[in-house]
């Protein structure tokens, strides 16, 4: 295994060697791939405090698989999701931590927000206790600090390298991966666990806020609560989930004979600087173009573009305008999205949606979007896949978009590994 602080690592190639995930419709990569190909929904109706019955995406992974009951009770749902994904990714990668220097491992977890669930619960308890703050839990601070999900992974696995979260609204899932690339190339770590997580459906505030914004998806059938790009779309379905990858420098991965899912060949992060919530097509276009430039690829060399596509009226139109301006002339580029299947997994969205497409490098299929039947003419992208899966001769590149509030954009390009 290589050592730290080696300047030659600056231009290292970074590869994905393991995936651990939980989504509202699957708890591992292969099942998730089967679910997106077969249009399996993960959306259900559930009771949300103060909000009544709402559509949401909930995960059913076994919390006790990698975490003691005591530590689960002490920690957070976000921590439990993170621990599950981290351990599953390591197992998938065939990495045994007791054979590693724990200081050379980093954890980079994208989050949209953190601490709202615990704060809402404490305030609820406060009102049950006649507003007596003496009953406020001493667990509140460690549960709500922004690094909690990564910190719980560190504690659970004994990882002593840099472990932290990256707050980037709904662009965060890509951001965890990008941070990992930086840290691997700097030689700060030799192995990274990176991606994004979300526990959002366990807070009523996010539902109430989207409702107030006119952006909360609703339907009597919960599986139809969010319909990105469809003329009948009425908003977002709030979901939880997580997806963490093991990332390594290529030479390290090859040295240990690792399975390689793909190589991260380009990315870009930029900001709109224009509005708190409304996206900006021009900045999104710029983000994709710069990611392509950095990857040394032309638009027609991208096989799949995953849309962020949240199911809001304006957001979908803005993104489609941006994607059309970059890929509109390409006959080879196919477009899909995953939120119709699983809702909006917030901080996990980018990482999970990449996972939904990642195995296309093996099966050469473009999975279809779900819940799109009446395409909004303003979202009529060429090669949009929403019926049956599309088979290509070979799929070699994926561009994964993930955008967030306060105008943060991220585009990540993953390429099929070729020596």
């Amino acid at each position: 295994m290589s050592t730290n602080t080696n300047a030659a690592k600056t231009l290292s190639r970074i590869v994905i060697t393991g995936v651990g995930l939980t989504a509202p419709n699957a708890n591992n990569l292969r099942d998730f791939r089967a679910a997106v190909l077969s249009k399996k929904s993960g959306l259900v109706h559930t009771e949300i405090r103060h909000m009544g019955i709402q559509a949401a995406g909930l995960c059913d992974f076994d919390e006790a698989r990698h975490q003691s009951k005591k530590m689960r009770k002490r920690g957070t749902r976000a921590g439990a999701i993170s621990i599950y994904c981290a351990k599953e990714a390591l197992d998938d990668a065939g990495i045994k931590l007791d054979e590693r220097d724990p200081f050379t491992i980093g954890v980079y977890i994208g989050i949209t927000e953190h601490g709202n669930v615990e704060t809402e619960n404490e305030i609820h308890e406060l009102y049950q206790n006649d507003l007596k703050t003496e009953f406020w839990s001493h667990h509140h601070n460690p549960r709500t600090v922004a690094n909690n999900p990564a910190g719980e992974v560190s504690l659970n696995l004994g990882i002593t390298g840099p472990c932290y979260t990256i707050g980037a609204a709904c662009a965060a899932g890509n951001m965890g991966l990008i941070e990992a690339c930086h840290m691997l190339r700097l030689g700060e770590v030799d192995l990274a666990l990176a991606g994004g997580i979300s526990e959002s459906p366990h807070t009523f505030g996010i539902f109430a806020a989207f409702k107030a914004q006119g952006a909360l998806g609703e339907h009597e059938d919960p599986t139809l609560a969010t319909r990105p790009l469809d003329t009948r779309r009425n908003g977002i379905a709030v979901s939880e989930g997580g997806c963490l990858y093991t990332l390594e420098r290529l030479d390290d991965a090859l040295a240990r004979g690792a399975k390689i899912y793909g190589e991260i060949v380009g990315f870009c992060i930029n900001s709109d600087a224009s509005d708190f919530v409304l996206p900006h097509a021009g900045r999104q276009m710029e983000c994709m173009k710069r990611a392509l430039d950095r990857a040394g690829l032309k638009p027609e060399e991208i096989d799949i573009v995953n849309l962020h596509a949240t199911g809001t009226s304006m957001g979908d139109i803005q993104e489609c305008e941006a994607v059309s301006s970059v890929f509109g002339y390409s006959d080879e580029t196919y477009i899909n999205f995953t939120k119709g299947h699983i809702g909006h997994c917030m901080g996990a969205a980018g990482a999970l949606e990449l996972a939904g497409n990642l195995l296309s490098f093996e099966d050469n299929l473009v999975h279809p979007a779900r819940n799109l039947e009446e395409l909004d003419p303003k979202c009529a992208l060429k090669n949009l896949v929403y019926g049956e899966p599309v088979k290509k001769k070979e799929i070699k590149t994926i561009l994964n978009n993930s955008f967030g509030m306060l105008g943060i954009n991220s585009s990540l390009i993953v390429k099929k590994y070729q020596s």
């Binding site: 003691s68 009951k69 005591k70 009770k73 002490r74 206790n129 003496e134 009953f135 839990s137 001493h138």
Partner: protein, 84 residues
């Protein structure tokens, strides 16, 4: 309230904290930390639950008196009896 009842109250609280341990095998004379997976946050949980569930206050300077089950019962029994 009798010491046996106080012991059961403390045991129930600990059982809800040390969820992965078998609390039926606690040796009352040995430090709880030496036989269960308990740390400082867990002892704060015990103090909090005594206050929440039973209105029994344990000031910080008295935390060492919760070291063993035996010392818990000795210390807490008069407090529970005073509430009656």
């Amino acid at each position: 309230m009798q010491p046996t009842e106080v012991r059961q109250i403390v045991l129930d609280i600990i059982a809800d904290i040390a969820l992965d341990d078998d609390v039926t095998k606690i040796d009352d004379s040995i430090a709880l930390r030496d036989q269960l997976d308990l740390d400082s946050m867990d002892f704060l949980d015990i103090v909090m639950e005594l206050k929440k569930q039973h209105k029994v206050e344990v000031p910080q300077e008295d935390y060492p008196k919760l070291a063993t089950m035996e010392s818990c019962v000795t210390y807490l029994t008069p407090k529970f009896q005073a509430l009656q």
